[in-house]
């Protein structure tokens, strides 16, 4: 398959949240969220309740995919950072560990320079955590260990979803 399935465990989830909460404070940002390149929201912090994060996640991934297409057309592998400047709010979007998208929403209380600086540091920490997650998933697969919740799924379970 093009991309291996992404699995998130409790320990790494907490570590990731700690990194983005620190980034939120240090970069004076309003909202930070992490998105899978396929458009699924992984986690977020800050004023998340003010925004439709599911839609933001999907459009961000679409944006990254489209920009990646542009990059290929001019002979680049991908563009690792995107920046959108608005009248009040700005979006700084970057790719972490090749498959996760880090989105920082900030206003005039912060600056692009500060956000770039802090994002760089946080990206290194996030890359390390995602590296461990990948190793963990590979180890679990190798050992045949599975705590997969759907192993016992029945047709009734699925039918109930639509009732």
């Amino acid at each position: 398959m093009a991309n291996p399935q992404m699995v998130m465990y409790d320990e790494e989830f907490q570590q990731i949240n700690a990194v983005i909460e620190k980034l939120l404070r240090e970069a004076n940002a309003k909202v930070i969220f992490l998105v899978d390149k396929n458009g699924q929201l992984i986690t977020g912090c800050g004023e998340t309740e003010r925004f439709d994060t599911t839609s933001l996640a999907s459009l961000t991934a679409g944006n990254i995919a489209a920009t990646g297409g542009l990059a290929k057309l001019i002979g680049e592998k991908e563009f690792s950072i995107l920046f959108h400047e608005g009248e009040k709010d700005n979006l700084h979007i970057s790719i972490v560990a090749g498959r996760v998208i880090l989105v920082v929403l900030f206003d005039s209380r912060s600056s692009l320079g500060l956000v770039r600086l802090r994002v760089k540091k946080a990206s290194e920490e996030l890359s390390a955590i995602f590296g461990r997650l990948t190793e963990k998933a590979a180890e679990k697969e190798k050992s045949g260990e599975s705590d997969f919740p759907f192993a016992e799924i029945t047709d009734d379970d699925i039918d109930n979803l639509f009732n």
Binding site: V7, M8, D10, F13, A65, E152, I153
Partner: protein, 194 residues
């Protein structure tokens, strides 16, 4: 591919509706959106041209409930059907878990249907997927219109491998949920295999 979060006990899957221009992909999503309880659905996003043709994609997040203690979310996407939007279609297939092919049952659209299935197969292959191996269902839409191709012929041309298929009229909603349910089932069965 799906995203399983053990920490927040959520599972997210991506379903893509594919098919030729004006076959009713967006109408399928609009019907699902209208008929879903507000608490189960997110906002439907349509990136369309002024003439209502899909430009990039339509997106509808659906939270259908819990399975074995996991919140199950399906993210429904359509692709732009017009031939010249092929680059967009390729991008939207990234990370897909299941595909619905929406065929236009009108006789004059048969060539467009066949071309679109071929295009789906090629674009999936470019992303590393095999149409014969991923969860896949076919919908024969617009069964309410005149000048119809018979279901037998549609099957022969568009569904030679015999995946689950459904007759539909997306404007009235006939067959819409049956199609969605079938692909969701195939995805969950696929996940079960691990």
């Amino acid at each position: 591919m799906s995203f399983i979060n053990y920490a927040s006990r959520e599972i997210n899957c991506k379903i893509v509706y594919y098919g030729p221009g004006l076959c009713g992909k967006t109408t399928n999503l609009q019907y699902v959106y209208q008929k879903t309880a507000p608490e189960a659905k997110g906002k439907m996003i349509s990136l369309a041209t002024e003439t209502e043709r899909t430009l990039f994609f339509d997106f509808l997040p659906l939270a259908l409930g819990e399975i074995r203690g996991f919140k199950t979310r399906f993210h429904l996407y359509t692709v732009p059907g017009q031939v010249f939007y092929d680059a967009s279609r390729k991008l939207i297939l990234k990370g897909v878990d299941g595909v619905v092919f929406v065929a236009d049952s009108q006789e004059e659209r048969m060539d467009a249907n066949i071309e679109s299935v071929e295009n789906l197969r090629i674009n999936l292959e470019e992303q590393g997927y095999d149409l014969d191996k991923i969860p896949y269902v076919v919908q024969y839409n617009k069964r309410d219109l005149p000048n119809l191709v018979s279901v037998e012929e549609l099957r022969r041309e568009l569904n030679p491998t015999g995946v689950p298929d459904f007759e539909a009229c997306a404007t009235t909603g006939e067959g819409v949920f049956e199609t969605l349910k079938a692909v969701a089932k195939l995805i969950l069965h696929d996940l079960k295999k691990g």
